[in-house]
Symmetry: C2
Subunit: 324 residues, 2 copies
């Protein structure tokens, strides 16, 4: 059985071996560029972890797991065009380094490459793998569409927000785990339980991002506190605050949202005060705790020897207790 770190090293070594580039180079160079820029390689690691719950011959799942990382990077290529993002992990985005057309077409080529890799599974699993990945890919599209739509709406509900972050990010985490278990030969109710597990854990992670932006310890969190407040980002905290606030606090909060000129520290303090008054901090903690509990419950449905689940439990504890 492998540790998470060992799996990450195996993924990284395998990624270094890939040759994405053939003619026309201009189509494939951007894929190489975005694939080599690091990151935690979370998704393929999760695929191998799920596979490793059942089997030790992880090399059989390796190429397919790499495909999930390529898929993830394809979504980043297109998202960065749509969001007109300048930087990705500290480097220029593809559409800034080259141009939008390059990012669109290289993204399309990356998607096809991803499918080719993901589909390197035994024939008996192929239909399930394809159906599963078509569903995941479509959900990710839907999530991105909701995310873009929500930017111009000011009546987004908490339920809509959670559905959006679930589709946009959690589904791929969930799908990565289901994929690993599926191609390891897990029974249907277990690979579906891993899908649920990954989905809940993805929600925990993203709600924590919202929470830590306001309530994180600046030393531990690593980035400055209140960034989301300054730019009026529609986070769980903001949406929930607007829902919970009485007339007076709601008016005050809307006033801060509309202000074009303000002192950043003052805005952060005032908005945080409103959050505290209306009970958003407790609501967020309760929601995170709820999803953590649900992820634990999903893991209980996996009937492998307890020692096989140790890294998954570590992961729940790590994510549950994270301060950065």
């Amino acid at each position: 059985m492998y540790t998470i770190e060992q799996l990450r090293d195996i993924i990284k070594a395998e990624l270094n071996k890939q040759e994405y580039v053939e003619e026309p180079y201009s189509l494939f160079e951007p894929i190489k560029y975005i694939m080599e820029d690091g990151g935690k390689r979370l998704r393929p690691v999760l695929t191998l972890m799920a596979y490793n719950l059942y089997r030790d011959d992880i090399e059989k799942a390796l190429k397919s797991a790499i495909g999930i990382e390529i898929f993830h990077n394809y979504t980043l290529l297109h998202d960065d065009v749509m969001d007109d993002a300048e930087l990705r992990r500290g480097r220029q985005t593809v559409h800034k380094k080259w141009n939008s057309n390059v990012a669109i077409l290289s993204g399309d080529a990356a998607a096809i490459t991803a499918y080719k890799y993901i589909e390197t599974v035994e024939d008996s699993y192929l239909r399930f793998v394809i159906d599963g990945f078509n569903q995941v890919a479509m959900d990710v599209c839907k999530g991105q569409q909701y995310d873009m739509e929500f930017e111009s709406r000011d009546d987004v509900s908490v339920e809509e927000y959670i559905q959006m972050i679930y589709l946009k990010t959690s589904v791929l985490i969930a799908g990565s785990m289901r994929h690993g278990a599926l191609i390891a030969g897990a029974p249907e109710h277990e690979y579906n339980a891993l899908y649920d597990f990954g989905g809940y854990l993805g929600l925990v992670f993203q709600l924590q991002d919202d929470y830590l932006d306001v309530y994180g310890d600046v030393k531990e969190f690593g980035k400055s506190i209140g960034g989301d407040i300054i730019c009026n980002k529609k986070t769980y905290l903001l949406i929930k605050a607007l829902e919970l606030a009485g007339d007076k606090d709601k008016a005050l909060l809307n006033e801060w949202l509309k202000k074009k000129q303000f002192d950043a520290a003052e805005k952060i303090k005032e908005v945080t005060d409103i959050y505290n008054r209306v009970g958003v901090r407790e609501a967020a903690m309760a929601k995170i705790g709820d999803y953590l509990e649900k992820s634990r419950g999903a893991l209980e449905k996996i009937e492998v020897p307890e020692e096989r689940k140790i890294h998954f439990r570590e992961m729940i504890d790590f994510i549950g207790g994270r301060k950065k």
Copy 2:
């Protein structure tokens, strides 16, 4: 056995039955929009024709054939963004009617939808269908990339040009036919022969487009003659003329290519005169004849009763003799 017209009607009726739209509507409405705007439905018809060479129960191939039409429209969605096209079959393009982000993301969703439809085949064919379609999809990306690159190059060779139009358009025609034969249970050498057949016929069609723009009868061709000459479009004729021309005609041709202000009729006449002098008309006719011959040769390899091939022979004759 079905006629081409019957197959087209069946495809159209089936297309009318499709429900592409679910939530979020803004993601799926553009797919419905581009799918309903008509066109000849050539590719799914070819799939059914190829299937019908071997089997009469074409309803079994219908959904998968529709997937090929959806795939084709996905490539149009993204190509129109990249080419910044205003109109498509007389209607506003998706990125003009909505915006680029909508066209990118709806295109991605259309690609996934296409795969879902295409993959509705018997399990025993699934691996071949997927491998075949991944190859086709990647070739189409490569063709689009070459097409964009060639716009800013003035040293494109005839071989490069033919490779580009082959990848960008012929491969999908070829793949549509291979797909139909494959899922009808044709032997490998026959579905591959149909791929070759479709590839050659695709090249004939596109080279004829180049040819008819200059040498077509204005009454029969339907659009005005010389459009490609006026906008310096890199067609087979222009590229071949630059290759065949002596120093004097080459200089003259380049002069016309550089002119910013000119009388359209004069430019068409002068460039056509150069084409005639250097023998481009004969070269194009020979090339078209060559590919027509090759497509006939590929069809010979299909060992079904001669009467089954009748519509394919009609198609060769129709395309071979087309004047519009």
